[in-house]
């Protein structure tokens, strides 16, 4: 039980980032606890959050959460029930009720200094297009996408592009996707092993894997090295887009084309 409590405490610390912003919330909460006269605000913005924090840290709650079939990784979302921003803003407005201008300036400075500006995150970059995915992905997908609306192609993509391909086109299949990159899942995929298993790609292994998986296209990132020139191994270079090399496997392409013709004739 104590172990579960400590785990919940760690989750709480990770959630708050151990940043000073949460101290602002705590200060506002204490201020409202002492001075707030509106009972609704006391009960819903002070007592309720305190009850929820206790519930969150209670080992039994975590056990019930997991026993209910919920993913333990999402337990932190219980903390979403505590409206930290609302508590802080309400506390600040009450505290500086008689000195609004100074109060506003002080509160704004405190929030700015104690928090972390979201736009400085390394995950945010200038959008290259309205899709908010890299232009490179769009160009590659437009090149290899089948012309027919119900057609499909399969392509091996570099890991840095994998997340975006199927956000653009559902007609480009991949032998593996994000599930191979995320560390929490431990899947095996022969094509992934051949492509990413070592620094230098063994072309023989890769071609064997992609033909077993019927992948018509292979896209190599600029930095990816291969032990042999892919063209000498039977692949044909279709294009180079933003230094990404796109190869087609004619053997797989012919095989896939023959099925498609077979099914078309059948219909």
């Amino acid at each position: 039980m104590f172990g579960i409590f400590m785990e919940s405490l760690v989750i709480f610390k990770l959630y708050t980032g151990l940043k000073l912003l949460m101290l602002l919330t705590a200060a506002a909460l204490i201020y409202l606890l002492i001075t707030e006269k509106d009972k609704r605000v006391r009960y819903f913005l002070v007592y309720a959050p305190l009850i929820l924090i206790v519930l969150f840290l209670c080992p039994l709650s975590r056990k019930v959460f997991v026993a209910a079939g919920l993913d333990g990784e999402t337990y932190y979302r219980i903390l979403w029930l505590i409206p930290m921003g609302l508590i802080t803003a309400t506390g600040a407005c009450r505290a500086f009720a008689k000195h609004m201008r100074i109060g506003l300036a002080v509160s704004m400075v405190l929030i700015s200094l104690c928090g972390s500006l979201v736009y400085r995150s390394s995950y945010i970059s200038k959008a290259e297009n309205l899709y908010h995915i890299p232009d490179t992905v769009i160009k590659i997908c437009d090149l290899i996408e089948p012309e027919e609306e119900d057609g499909r192609v399969s392509a091996v993509m570099p890991t840095e592009l994998i997340h975006f391909v199927r956000q653009y086109s559902a007609r480009i299949n991949m032998p593996y996707g994000r599930e191979m990159i995320a560390s929490q899942w431990d899947y095996y995929n022969a094509v992934y092993e051949a492509m990413e298993g070592s620094e230098v790609v063994c072309m023989e292994d890769l071609i064997e894997a992609i033909r077993a998986d019927y992948c018509q296209y292979v896209v190599f990132s600029p930095s990816k090295e291969t032990d042999k020139d892919p063209e000498t191994c039977g692949l044909s270079l279709v294009a180079v887009i933003d230094d990404y090399r796109i190869y087609e496997d004619p053997v797989t392409a012919r095989e896939v084309e023959s099925w498609q013709k077979y099914y078309e004739d059948e219909n």
Partner: protein, 368 residues
């Protein structure tokens, strides 16, 4: 073409929800018969209908799922919206007071001038909001979950199946029982299909321009409920806006989700559904002015719909909103010494409870 698409977006993302929300007007206090409340209530009703109609489609339609859903749901939404607008016109002509723009509402005399201080603080808020909208449109935010949710929306649009294709690889798959009840990506696909817009463009570039202001509307309502002196409201809104920008203390906070994953159901759950629960409880227990009738029915109905609508954004959202409702109602029941509050809250959790039951039956393989 672009003009038609923009008009389509305005119609589906603003006019239809606002019209639907107006259905609640007779049940609300006069101060809440305005555009913001109409939009908030309208989105809640829209997502509740999405769940009621969408879940059977997801479970039963293997092929043409999005087409079937669109054919059934869109006329229903338009019908509700039309009824809301028509009935409001009718009621206003019979004397119901509303704070809507002319010609639905009456022409109002010019409002009293704001004090300069208030105007400046509101200006700061709108500046911060403008920055957030500008950044939402011009900045790409990478999130691994988009490889799932974004891809599901694109699959719905391009393959016309719902949760039956592995979003990562494109291969056929059994129904994804863990996510199939959360229809937010499917809603995005539907809106995009109706307007002729790619689901990913809609999610990343357009929806934040609607969902971010929608969240602030809920906070504005909360602020109005808390502060009797309306002069406090602009300061409250400025601090909320700043908090949203600087709340990125970890990847787990609602603030991080709000501005970096606005289009995902999880963000909608944390930044709209849960604050809306709080707003409803603040309104339910707001002291009544002398001579004013206490109106609670509309808010209880809205809470019941919200507890179901949350399921569209995330399966966990239903549990969170019901848990929040339970905690707030327990506190209120003790405070007011009225056990009936618990009964009413329990009743409002029934739609959410049915959703959870479906979820358990699906995930344990009993149905689906």
């Amino acid at each position: 073409m672009i003009v038609l698409r923009i008009l389509g977006l305005l119609f589906l993302l603003l006019l239809v929800p606002a019209g639907m929300g107006m259905l609640f007007f007779p049940l609300f206090k006069k101060e809440h018969r305005d555009l913001q409340t109409a939009l908030i209530a309208g989105y809640i009703l829209m997502f509740a209908l999405l769940e009621v109609i969408g879940i059977p489609v997801v479970l039963l339609a293997v092929y043409r799922g999005l087409t079937i859903l669109t054919m059934i749901l869109s006329p229903v939404l338009v019908a509700f919206a039309s009824a809301g607008i028509f009935l409001t016109f009718h009621r206003v002509s019979k004397g119901m007071a509303v704070s809507l723009p002319y010609p639905i509402g009456k022409r109002k005399p010019a409002p009293a001038k704001w004090k300069v201080e208030q105007a400046v603080i509101w200006g700061i808020f709108f500046l911060l909001l403008g920055i957030q909208l500008y950044m939402a449109f011009t900045r790409a935010s990478f999130d691994g979950d988009d490889a799932y949710y974004g891809a599901q929306a694109v699959i719905a649009q391009q393959v016309d199946t719902l949760y039956r294709v592995n979003p990562y690889t494109g291969r056929s798959a059994p129904l994804d029982v863990r996510h199939c009840l959360a229809l937010f990506p499917i809603w995005e696909a539907m809106i995009g299909k109706l307007c002729g817009i790619h689901a990913t463009i809609l999610s990343h570039s357009i929806l934040p321009l609607i969902l971010i202001p929608l969240t602030y509307m809920v906070y504005e309502k909360i602020g109005r409920s808390i502060f009797r002196k309306k002069e406090r409201l602009p300061m409250f809104m400025v601090l909320m806006a700043l908090w949203q920008m600087f709340g990125n203390v970890s990847i787990y906070t609602t603030e991080t989700f709000f501005l970096t994953r606005t289009w995902q159901g999880k963000s909608f759950a944390g930044n709209f559904v849960l604050p809306a629960v709080l707003w409803i409880f603040l309104e339910l227990f707001k002291p009544v002015q002398r001579g004013e009738k206490r109106k609670q029915t509309g808010y209880w109905i809205l809470l019941a719909l919200l507890n179901l609508a949350g399921g569209a954004s995330s399966s966990l959202a239903v549990l969170l909103s019901c848990l929040m409702s339970a905690v707030l109602s327990l506190i209120a029941a003790v405070w007011k010494r009225k056990p009936w509050i618990l009964v009413k809250t329990a009743l409002s959790c029934i739609p959410g409870g049915i959703y959870v039951l479906f979820y358990l039956l699906l995930t344990h393989g009993i149905i689906g």
